[in-house]
Subunit: 346 residues, 2 copies
Amino acid sequence: MLAIAGYPLGLRFAVLDPAEDACAFQLAEALHGEYDDRTLVERLAGRADVVTYEFENVSADSSGYLAQHVPMYPSPEALTLKQDRWAEKQLFEQLEIPTAPTRAVETHTELDAAADALGFPLILKTRSYGYDGKGQARAETREELATVLDEFEGVPLIAEKCIAFKREVSIVAVRGLNGEVAFYDIAENVHHEGILRSTRNRSEDPVADTAHDYVQRLMDRLDYVGVLALELFDVDGQLLANEFAPRVHNSGHWTIEGAETSQFENHLRAILGMPLGATASVGPTAMLNCIGQLPDTAAVLALPGAHYHRYDKEPRPRRKVGHITLRAETPDKLEASVAAVEKLLD
Amino acid sequence: MLAIAGYPLGLRFAVLDPAEDACAFQLAEALHGEYDDRTLVERLAGRADVVTYEFENVSADSSGYLAQHVPMYPSPEALTLKQDRWAEKQLFEQLEIPTAPTRAVETHTELDAAADALGFPLILKTRSYGYDGKGQARAETREELATVLDEFEGVPLIAEKCIAFKREVSIVAVRGLNGEVAFYDIAENVHHEGILRSTRNRSEDPVADTAHDYVQRLMDRLDYVGVLALELFDVDGQLLANEFAPRVHNSGHWTIEGAETSQFENHLRAILGMPLGATASVGPTAMLNCIGQLPDTAAVLALPGAHYHRYDKEPRPRRKVGHITLRAETPDKLEASVAAVEKLLD
């Protein structure tokens, strides 16, 4: 999606990806191999005027090497911070961005102390290398807690108080090389089994100002360049930061058709030092992920205001293999289309 | 632009183009050679599930071969008709679509008779292979007429009465395999030296119904599949057909950002037998061509609502090397942006 957004601007791409069937290889020079394959990383540094990433689990070694040899945005600092959930939480705390009460835990003793302080249910997450619900577990009792810790085999964890939130939202923002910032509409997200299922944009959302404030603090602190997403729990109007993503984000995919300038184009504009594009939405929009399988193309395209994005990835359970964007004149019409797509996705 | 629209739908492309630097080669399997290179045409037929074209001067030989071996839309008939301006005019006449009075001429005697019947100024056009003002001349007097005929060295011509029109418009429409038809907003076009300079969409234009009627007659008669553009002169509210283009059209480029579904996506949906996408505009939009040179990227992107499309073509005089789309909330704001872009294009 970055490459598709970039070609009209005259940009060319080389892509390092470990997946043989990486969809970007259709549209870019393919550097096929592991993220820490030094030969490929060197080739990428040699080919590129600027480097970016859209996956967080790139080794610090590779990102450090790249950043030394070629401008890299967002910075390796954002990536490194993001790779440690405890460092991320501490950053939120420093910036006075509220979060769910959280503790770092490694031992049974620390975990028991966390349970005493935070209560049940408790969410446990590996500090590193988790996404789409991977590396997460939930414990309702002390017995479950012990089992979970054993399952994680002693890797460092964080224990989070489970929050009864009204809804999950995210704020997708973009910051330019010169510090210019723009915000997309609040995205209202529905997750299931740790995976984003759908997003709706919410113009004039009551929490927008607070979300802008929080994400701006984060971006300014990191001297951030590019698109950043901050996921938040809305607890009766009070926002608690869950996590941030230093990259274009699934909850911003609706912007391709639903906003004046997509998150992908704005990410490219930002990392190239270009002026940012307008982020205003063009109306009610919803995005639904296709998880594990792709519905029939004709059935999707027959729905009013439907746009289909097939990722050309091997379908397998829990894998995001495409998404559908729906546009409508009114929220009611949008919900009718959403219901129709949900039937196709079942 | 077709390939960029098609990748999200899971489509893959092979492109036959005589230009070594054809921009589509970045995004598709490159078949580099002449349109009548039989080896390449055969390879294309072997690779493709469906063939289309976005340039009209493809030889009847090649298009005939392709259509025999693989579904080809629009049909070779539309292409052949389009390659003879006189056949095109006669088709308009059969369909009772008004045009400027026109005659076919080959000799000085026929040309004199045409001048007697139609008066001056007279527009002369080669019957075949003209675009962007090429193969056209204007004569104000009988002396100029004789010179023009000599310059065209006896190739068959048409002579058209010069019409004092209020404005030039086009209607870009799309027809599906099942006969379903959808229309984009009327495009109001400004030409200079035979080349399209700018287009603005006009929602609720007073001539829209008539334009829909004319283009529908044309598409139904040709059992047309894909996007078709019909260029019209608006003479005080009466429409005269100038010419049609059996392809995605420059006056439809505004639809990438300005309409719910772009002409490119809808062309692909049509030729694949898929349901058509909504053609409604998302608001006031203008498209300006970059002719002969590209303005500075940062200067373009700094303008509100600007989207830049660079074609990655060698700049040379009179060549379209890019376009800029402008979006705005109101027509007034749009015109302010248009004025700013026109300064950059000077």
